[in-house]
Symmetry: C2
Subunit: 330 residues, 2 copies
């Protein structure tokens, strides 16, 4: 072949060579272009789902938390709260559990008002269940969950401090709302707050639960919750209540210690009154507290014992908000 | 031999037999008596140095604490405080470190005013040293030490609560007096309290030490203190100060965490003004605070680094003294 080429007359060979080298060069350029396009973007290596990451600080799994907020019939409050919570430092992502069955999520409006500091995911539910918020969401990437009721406004200061406390007590529910159970001579338990008698371990009061409607806890407990006995799900569905009591039973049983650590809130507000929806929240139902006592006793049956333990530890932030708030009266 | 006995006449054998059996019986009784005396008293197994234990509640090594109180030139305050502290629940024993060199301990008076709820041991010192209270006293039987200055009155409520907190944080110094160090651009450290700038980790203040003049800590740290470098003893002796800063360095280095846990005091009083001795305490010396900054820097040299860590956790007792003291303003 080679020799065959050499035998072709000079001019013809020149044109053919030119054509040949041109084709080779073009092919090489195309291949190079294709390779460049296929090379992975360095940022995409770290967070395959995000492009053009706007955050300046690192949001590793341990240093940030995911807000899970369930919402029903109070979209005006939800949106007001989202404007506040989306900007909390160390927040990684928001998961909105949409219990407004059949109603479209406000995703279009949300996107039209972007960009937003963090991703917000709207999880459409098929049935309006209280325990929908306790699913093990695949979007959950952080070790810490912040669970918040859709009518509760907790200041950024309170959240930053409570998150730092959770990091020191990661196996506990660290939050702002303490409750307790008391036992009675009949063996029947009652649920309540400071208005109930003290459990009688020395002076002062005790708490045995921290409600999850304003609290940090480990995402592993959502995994654990998927393995609860059917009777627990049935109880929560029957009452549309008590998912938080059930979580405290789960955590107490798991740790053998008090389930919660109470952080005294500085500025926590309930925005119920501010809604235009006319909907005022489950705890206004007449039977609400009686239901919760009922749930405590049912859970003791299911658990074949009372795993809740008492604590009287109340944690506040040293030197905040009051300069030298630790000075005693002497 | 046996047959030899049989050959002796009947009456002689009878008397010899009687004598023999009597001797055997007496010897057996003596042996039995000796064994009974040597059998360990069940209570003494737990506390070998106590007999006729008058306490009604068990005072095992983990459920009680030893008060160590060093005293110099304020015997009137000491005795006033002993009347209070000797009755604190869960107190096991009091060790008074007697720094009044050459002066007789008030043991006679103390005994004449008995009985007392717990044993009080007066440890006569040969040299008036600040660090005398940090010896590993052989009389110390409990895991917990309560160290108290001889002019500080802490209420029983505060002590009971702080002890329960210590039991949850046994590797920390749990007490009522928080202090901090701050670093400066020059690298030189300063010692102080709320009046110094915040170390700048978020809002509010931080503390990096809890002073041992009103605190619980693990008795193991007294053992550890005996193994400190000579330079530490020299520093404390030179300044007659800073033994508490040295202990915080020791604990922080040991745990890799903040050395102390601050419990907000409800009723802690300083009785200095009440003494008739005219002696008013080391902290009134003009150079006191400057000395303590000096000590921090010297200890950083000795430790070849700064082991102290910051904390902003302030612990209070839930529901005490104010019913529902956890309710926020909303």
């Amino acid at each position: 072949r080679y020799f065959h080429f050499c035998k072709v007359p000079g001019r013809v060979m020149g044109i053919r060579l030119l054509r040949f080298t041109s084709v080779v060069i073009i092919v090489l350029l195309l291949v190079a272009g294709a390779l460049t396009a296929l090379l992975p973007n360095i940022k995409d290596d770290k967070m395959p789902n995000l492009r053009r990451e706007p955050k300046t600080q690192s949001q590793s799994a341990l240093d940030s938390f995911t807000l899970i907020m369930q919402t029903y019939n109070r979209t005006d409050l939800l949106l007001k709260l989202l404007n506040h919570y989306q900007a909390i430092p160390q927040l990684h992502k928001v998961i909105v559990v949409w219990n407004n069955i059949g109603e479209k999520v406000p995703e279009e409006m949300w996107n039209s008002l972007g960009p937003h500091p963090v991703p917000v995911v709207f999880k459409v539910q098929t049935v309006n269940r209280m325990r929908n918020r306790l699913q093990n969401f695949p979007e959950l990437e952080t070790k810490a969950v912040l669970m918040m009721d859709d009518d509760t406004l907790v200041s950024a200061h309170d959240l930053a401090f409570a998150f730092s406390v959770w990091q020191q007590f990661p196996e506990h529910i660290v939050g702002f709302v303490p409750r307790k159970h008391i036992s009675t001579p009949s063996g029947v338990y009652s649920y309540g707050s400071f208005e109930l008698q003290n459990p009688g371990f020395g002076n002062g009061d005790q708490y045995s639960m921290v409600l999850i409607g304003a609290a940090f806890f480990h995402s592993g407990y959502l995994e654990d919750f998927q393995r609860q006995p059917e009777a627990v799900y049935a109880l929560i569905d029957e009452t549309q209540n008590c998912d938080d009591i059930a979580m405290n039973f789960l955590v107490a049983k798991h740790t053998g210690k008090p389930s919660g650590v109470f952080v005294k809130p500085v500025d926590v507000r309930n925005l119920e009154k501010d809604t235009n929806s006319g909907y005022s929240g489950m705890w206004h139902r007449a039977e609400h507290l009686l239901q919760r006592s009922y749930c405590v006793n049912k859970l003791v049956n299911i658990y074949d014992g009372m795993p809740l333990k008492y604590s009287n530890i109340m944690i506040s932030q040293f030197g905040f908000p009051n300069y030298a708030n630790h000075k005693n009266k002497m």
